[in-house]
Symmetry: C2
Subunit: 195 residues, 2 copies
DNA sequence: CGATGTTTGTACTGCGAGTACAGACTTTCT
DNA sequence: AGAAAGTCTGTACTCGCAGTACAAACATCG
């Protein structure tokens, strides 16, 4: 895969709603070409096919998320505070690009089939959270849990499911602001379900 | 779609590992026919295509889960106890049929595009949990949370992510027993991450 | 036993992914 | 400047595979 010019990368975003809506399988290359304005021949000049186009866009987003998460991790405060900051960041970036977020979540199978994407996904979601859980057990701001990986999965799972629901919801209905959503979500995850 | 004979439904299960591994997109109808032993012409006699075959299998599993969940809900005990029973049931059924579980989770987008499947998914996962959360707030065995839907999403999210990881994990590695997994997961979800 | 439905093999059609390639245009090098 | 190498895109093509057509064998049932 050749280095993709920023211009083209940006144009490709326009095809995302289409892909999110009908799935990559049902989205024809010509549709992607037409909607994005990038000629089909040019697409094949840069990518080897549909799969690679989508993988490229997803990887791009995951990189952005892990970058931002790293920043949030580096701030001051207890592990708990920074965990909340990280989760908020993840949610914000997913919601800001709804279509890509929906595709990411709706197509976890595709991601799990690509080692590169698995790695990016871990870097964006698992690793930062898992590190913070360990840190939190150290500085006392978080409970020591038996299985930290499961903790990060719980968070990741609730994040993506929340997003999925806001994304499935017809666009005409009002969506909760990411901050409210993130707040409620953290409330549940942090305090648990027991009284 | 005609009523599918039990025999054929059962044979189709054999094609699931294939679909889980490479995705429906990459799985050819002829492969499904060969692996399952159901002739291609017969497949098209009952189904309108690949999509419908997979949808049928998924719906089948979701129905089984919601049936079992309903049973677990009907037992004695506090809402908390029954919630744990329900979650254990969900995990058990997903793990017992790894391939289908993996497909279900890896292809949430497909599900979210089909109203029928959304409904089955809700019946299997959301509705029972959400009801129990409300009940639990009533009988005092669970905390009153601001957004019950979010509670059920958190649980669903952590369940499927845990499954996804056990499924992605190379088959040669030892998998945690569903009971242990469920136990750890409930520990996190119930008690939360705070000390 | 006729009628209606099931099952399956074989042969076919057609869509759309991906390829080939030539020509225009741009950048880089000498 | 001018050659060389790389970028971009239109057009026309191939070909794999999903889905269709259909006929013949077989079952079921009234």
């Amino acid at each position: 895969m050749r280095k993709v010019p920023a211009q083209i990368a940006s144009q490709l975003q326009q095809a995302l709603p289409l892909i999110a809506e009908q799935g990559l399988e049902q989205t024809k290359i010509d549709e992607i070409a037409d909607t994005s304005g990038v000629p089909k021949a040019t697409l094949y000049y840069y990518f080897s096919g549909k799969e690679e186009i989508l993988a490229y866009l997803i990887e791009d987003m995951l990189t952005a998320i892990s970058d931002q998460a790293a920043i949030a991790m580096g701030t001051d405060g207890t592990a708990k505070d920074r965990l909340e900051a990280v989760v908020m960041t993840q949610i914000r970036l997913l919601v800001e690009n709804r279509a890509l977020g929906a595709t990411l979540i709706g197509d976890l199978g595709r991601i799990s089939r690509s080692p590169g994407l698995i790695q990016s996904l871990q870097a964006a979601f698992y690793t930062p959270v898992e590190n913070l859980l360990v840190e939190g057990a150290g500085d006392g701001s978080l409970r020591i849990i038996h299985n930290p990986l499961l903790g990060s999965m719980t968070i990741f799972g609730s994040v993506i499911m929340s997003i999925l629901v806001t994304v499935i919801t017809p666009a005409d209905e009002e969506i909760e602001f990411p901050d409210d959503l993130a707040g409620d979500l953290l409330d549940v995850v942090m305090k648990g379900l027991l009284p």
